[in-house]
């Protein structure tokens, strides 16, 4: 019979943690504040990268920096006696160094910007990325040394310290998000400086050392002042914006003028005016034959975090707006009269402007970004320029997708055109983000909200070669129609595209009439667009094998002699018809497959993953089949738009290597010495790995899934981060009461978490969809209620596990366990989007549930008593 962890309760608390009353409270508050400073730094670095270059590089740097926690723990684990002896100096040094390191590292990193698009071609850029990582790692190291040393000293009250850690992280995360409304990205580093400084003051106040508190104040103030004054004196930049960001080009136009500027958690919005800005997305080339000229000074450029431009159109006279007829967005208005129109996403307003000029009887627009609506409502420049466009339409101040899913209103035209994209290739690639507006479920809602003869029109950029996202759109829309009960969809669709420009898919409820088809075909021909699908179109399907084979060889050719012998010309003609480009042939074949309900065969033969988007897998990303990844390492330039996805694999690889190191260092140096008396080492590693992996998987997975109800990734992230950490903190605190029965209670807790998460994975989708129809405040409340049960329970295992190690006097393992937990957090964070894109978000949450179940037997290994100690 082994002892219960609670039975070994003769471990005495360190003097500073044995204090009572106000001083004890100050100590806990210090831990919460410093943990919050680390979270604030993570958010700050992410924002800096979002604006300066690209968000996914920020994720990479933050993920790797968080590995610092794991590596610190490995070192501290080996040198535990030294850290215990010198705890005061170590903590004072780490607290004192935090603020100067935040400011210094950020300032230096901004002088060493790396350029994402040259990562493959210029070796120097890789070193710059490494330098950015190394610099931003430094303040994280200071934070991790502080927390590690605190945990070491506070072993006996770990549950409470961990509660303070989680609660502080959650609340400070929320505080940082509020700060995003007021503090521009270049000054966001001041938030962790303040929080770190407050943490330092509280710590020394708790120890009754006022001098230390004064030094902490001075260091924070001097660091903040240095950030605000040094760059100007040194002629250095505080936020280096890449020359390759859209806004950098606008700033270089000789007559560019910034007309609007606002910061918020929804991003940094800037609007520029310049005669050099021109927008007409998807304009037919034939406009040049029939229009004397395009209207001048008709556009403003709107930039989100420096990306764009999104075109904002001036209110034009009928003569000036004649070119609207040549835009793909005009399609639904060719076969409708005075339609009642719904624009799913307002964006810069181009679809809305086309609808208004196409004599729509009424126009309703949805827009999920409050910051964007505020810009159009409050900026005099934008109001005057657009003829106060929002006053002429009905505005749904949230996601149009959610509105249509929960309304009884019916519309003659539902339009989703070029949403979420400035359309031009993003040389740094795209982060993997959820596109719930384009999922099969969303399309079903759009189709259901049409009147009997209503038309859904979806326009997407068609600039990929070989095609990727367009094929996903086709498959998604066809699947939606079939799921809605259209048995034969051949009469319901009309599709036209312009090569390397745009593609428009029209769906008509009840099917197109002969007159509709004639009108659409005539217009397509007069615009010199390509007819991809229309009811009755004849497509030669014999060319299919050639097309599939040729496209595969464009990417996966393995010999240079193929091209060499061709003399630069083609290897194999796609169809013998030089007037039809392979992409157009491919699209035509794709629709024939969809009409035959044979998409599986198509996607098996095609070189990329082109499965439909669903609420479980809402991604225009991860097109490369994982099995093909080894084949593309020497041609990464071809996949620049997938670098966000590929970086996740890189992060995962690095995290795995680091995980091995964190686990390996103590194993190599201590397995036969320090740890030799510890039974159940492997189970202990598995237990804490499961907790690290499971917790982050739930957090990141739910952030992605809650966007479905909350419409905004930033809001979803803040709700989840705050909710999870606060509820888990409470769980950690409460867990202390059950520590004496841990052998009995913890398996039940882990089993409950597992069952709960597996149930969430199956049921969350419809629940979130229903929540999406509620008023926003109620949606937030519902989301917090959904988070609370698993998050509360997920606070138990870490605190209980660490408490058990303390009580069993497995002191060497204490910090090691914390490090293993941290490393597997990074592994989990990188794995979530990879699993989600391959298998769906339900699998992510279900996997997390399974991992908590695996933790149950591992926990019993952790409870094995030390050798040489007597069992109770």
């Amino acid at each position: 019979v082994s002892s219960s962890p609670a039975d070994d309760s003769n471990v005495s608390a360190s003097p500073e943690w044995a204090q009572t009353g106000a001083r004890q409270a100050l100590m806990y508050a210090a831990v919460g504040s410093v943990a919050g400073a680390v979270i604030a730094l993570q958010i700050g670095v992410m924002r800096i990268f979002s604006e300066g270059s690209w968000a996914h590089f920020g994720s990479l740097v933050v993920s790797l920096a968080m590995l610092g926690f794991g590596l610190t723990s490995a070192v501290m684990c080996l040198a535990r006696p030294w850290f215990e002896r010198h705890w005061f100096g170590v903590i004072a040094a780490s607290l004192g160094a935090f603020a100067p390191l935040v400011i210094g590292a950020n300032l230096m990193a901004q002088q060493l910007p790396f350029n994402a698009i040259f990562l493959v071609s210029d070796p120097l850029q890789k070193w710059r990325l490494v330098a950015n990582f190394a610099l931003y790692l430094l303040p994280f190291l200071a934070g991790s040394v502080f927390l590690g040393t605190v945990f070491l000293r506070a072993k006996t009250v770990f549950g409470r310290v961990y509660f303070a850690d989680l609660l502080g992280s959650g609340l400070c995360g929320l505080l940082t998000l509020v700060a995003l409304f007021f503090v521009p990205s270049e000054n966001l580093v001041l938030v962790p400086v303040v929080l770190g400084g407050v943490g330092g003051v509280l710590w020394f106040a708790g120890l009754g050392r006022p001098l230390g508190a004064i030094v902490m104040v001075l260091l924070a103030v001097v660091s903040g002042a240095a950030h605000l004054t040094l760059p100007e004196r040194l002629n250095a930049t505080t936020l280096a914006v890449s020359d390759y960001k859209g806004v950098s080009y606008a700033r270089k136009f000789p007559d560019a003028k910034r007309e609007y500027d606002s910061v918020s958690p929804f991003g940094h919005i800037e609007v520029y005016s310049s005669s050099y800005l021109h927008f007409a997305p998807g304009l037919s080339d034939n406009a040049s034959l029939n229009l004397a000229q395009m209207p001048a000074n008709a556009y403003l450029g709107l930039y989100m975090d420096g990306d764009g431009p999104i075109g904002v159109m001036r209110e034009l006279s009928d003569k000036d707006s004649a070119y609207f007829h040549y835009l793909p967005m005009v399609y639904p208005y060719l076969i409708t009269t005075a339609p009642k129109t719904f624009v799913v996403q307002f964006g810069g307003g181009i679809s809305t402007m086309v609808a208004l000029h196409s004599k729509a009887s009424s126009v309703t627009v949805g827009e999920s970004s409050p910051a964007l609506l505020q810009a159009f409502r409050e900026s005099d420049v934008l109001k005057k320029f657009t003829g106060d466009i929002l006053s002429r339409v009905s505005v749904i101040p949230y996601d149009g997708r959610l509105y249509l899913a929960n309304t009884n209103e019916r519309y003659d035209v539902v339009d989703l055109s070029l949403a979420d994209s400035a359309g031009l290739s993003n040389p740094g690639g795209f982060a993997i983000v959820e596109k719930y507006s384009y999922t099969q479920e969303a399309m079903q809602h759009y189709m259901r909200s049409l009147t009997d003869k209503g038309v859904l029109s979806v326009t997407l950029w068609n600039k990929e070669e070989p095609p990727k996202s367009v094929l996903k759109l086709y498959a998604t829309m066809a699947a939606a129609a079939q799921a809605n009960g259209d048995v034969d969809i051949s009469k319901n669709f009309f599709v036209a595209s312009s090569y390397l420009s745009t593609v428009t898919v029209l769906y008509k409820r009840g099917g197109f009439s002969a007159a509709d088809i004639a009108t659409l075909r005539k217009h397509t021909s007069s615009m010199s667009f390509d007819e991809i699908y229309s009811p009755g179109i004849v497509v030669d399907q014999k060319k299919a094998e050639h097309v599939f084979g040729d496209f595969r060889s464009t990417i996966f050719s393995t010999t240079s002699t193929d091209a060499a012998t061709s003399g630069g010309a083609a290897l194999v003609a796609a169809d013998g018809d030089a007037s039809v480009v392979p992409a157009t042939s491919l699209y035509q074949l794709a629709w024939q497959s969809l009409i035959r309900n044979d998409w599986n065969t198509f996607e098996q033969k095609y070189l990329f993953d082109v499965r439909p988007l669903t609420n479980k897998r809402p991604y225009f990303a991860a097109y490369v089949h994982p099995t093909d990844l080894p084949l593309i390492t020497d041609r990464l330039e071809l996949f620049q738009d997938e670098w966000g996805y590929l970086l996740l694999w890189a992060t995962l690889s690095i995290a795995c290597v680091s995980g091995v190191i964190v686990i390996g260092i103590p194993v190599v140096f201590g397995w036969r010495t320090a740890f030799s008396r510890y039974p159940g080492k492997a189970q202990t590693i598995i237990y804490f790995a499961c907790l690290g992996f499971g917790y982050i998987t739930v957090e990141v997975g739910l952030i992605a899934q809650f966007v479905q109800a909350l419409s905004n990734a930033t809001v979803s992230a803040s709700v989840l981060i705050t909710g999870m950490l606060v509820f888990s903190g409470i769980g950690s605190f409460v867990s202390e009461r059950f520590a004496s029965q841990a052998r009995v209670t913890l398996p039940k807790v882990c089993a409950s978490i597992g069952v709960l998460l597996i149930a969430y994975s199956l049921l969350l989708n419809p629940v979130l969809n229903a929540i999406g129809g509620l008023p926003y405040a109620l949606r937030l409340v519902c989301c917090f209620i959904l988070i609370a049960p698993p998050a509360f329970l997920m606070g138990f295992p870490m605190a209980t596990g660490m408490g058990a190690l303390t009580r069993l006097k497995k002191e060497e393992m204490f910090l090691w366990a914390w490090g293993v937990n941290g490393c597997f957090s990074v592994i989990g964070a990188a794995l979530v989007p990879l699993v989600a894109t391959a298998f769906g978000l339900a699998v992510v949450i279900g996997t997390a549930g399974a991992v908590y179940l695996i933790a149950i037997p591992a926990f019993f290994g952790l409870l094995k008593p030390m050798r040489g100690t007597s069992a109770a």
């Binding site: 493959v120 005669s275 021109h278 406009a287 290739s425 420009s501 240079s560 091209a563 083609a570 007037s579």
Partner: protein, 255 residues
């Protein structure tokens, strides 16, 4: 003026004698030329000569000169790249420029593309939207002209918004658009002659696909504008970056 192409030594010797260029860069240019010919990036004789005669090293930034003849694109500042030699070769070959053709380039950038065009015809116009870059590139041309590269006098430059083309110089036989935009500017199509060709690289640097737009007369006298790729409805395999090694082309995939 055409350099010998029978051997690397003859080429370098001729260029040193006639153009006083650095043998180191000439050797690299020759190697890249061999790779481009083998890859099928230089499809006609006049484009081959133009490549061999154009000192690419003069158009890249000083700190990147050692990479002048690498396969990849390079940063030239202002958020602009100089395309890789293979891409420039294919674009120029596709245009199939004849002596006397009027050619307009939108987006001068480094000036390298126009410099190659200057070897092919004496009527080249190029527009750059970014003022300091336009001035820098003009300076490069003036410096080269002063050193005896008289063919660059064929290139007329101006800093302006290329969206509206260069109406007073048009119409043009060929137009190259090297800047990103969400549609083909109607003014450029209007300034393209019937029978003319316009090429536009689309996509991120290094993974660009070249759009070819042609303006043709229908039998009934109306005009038709058609889009295609530069390979006439065919696909060409991606060739991993290559270089010449021991008289053979070696791709990075072979390593």
């Amino acid at each position: 003026m055409a350099p010998p192409v029978d051997s690397k030594e003859h080429f370098i010797e001729w260029m040193v004698t006639n153009r006083d260029e650095d043998p180191k860069f000439l050797a690299e240019r020759w190697d890249r030329y061999q790779a481009m010919v083998t890859n099928g990036d230089l499809l006609n004789e006049q484009t081959r000569h133009a490549f061999l005669l154009t000192p690419r090293e003069e158009f890249v930034r000083k700190n990147a000169q050692t990479h002048s003849y690498d396969h990849n694109f390079l940063d030239i500042g202002f958020g602009v790249t100089i395309s890789g030699p293979h891409a420039v070769g294919r674009m120029t070959s596709t245009l199939d420029i004849k002596k006397g053709d009027k050619v307009l380039e939108i987006g001068s950038g480094s000036g390298y593309q126009s410099a190659m065009l200057g070897h092919l015809t004496d009527k080249v116009w190029t527009i750059e939207i970014i003022k300091p870059l336009a001035e820098r590139t003009r300076g490069v041309y003036d410096g080269l002209i002063a050193r005896g590269y008289s063919e660059y006098s064929n290139v007329r430059t101006k800093q302006a918004d290329g969206y509206f083309g260069w109406e007073e110089a048009g119409p043009f036989d060929k137009i190259v658009v090297t800047c990103g935009i969400d549609h083909v500017p109607p003014a450029l199509l209007q300034q393209l002659k019937v029978g003319g060709i316009m090429v536009i690289p689309v996509g991120p640097p290094g993974a660009q696909h070249v759009l070819k737009v042609t303006k043709e007369a229908n039998p009934d006298g109306t005009v038709k504008i058609a889009r295609s790729d530069i390979y006439n409805g065919k696909v060409v395999p991606f060739v991993p970056f290559t270089k010449l090694e021991a008289n053979g082309i070696v791709g990075t995939h072979n390593k």
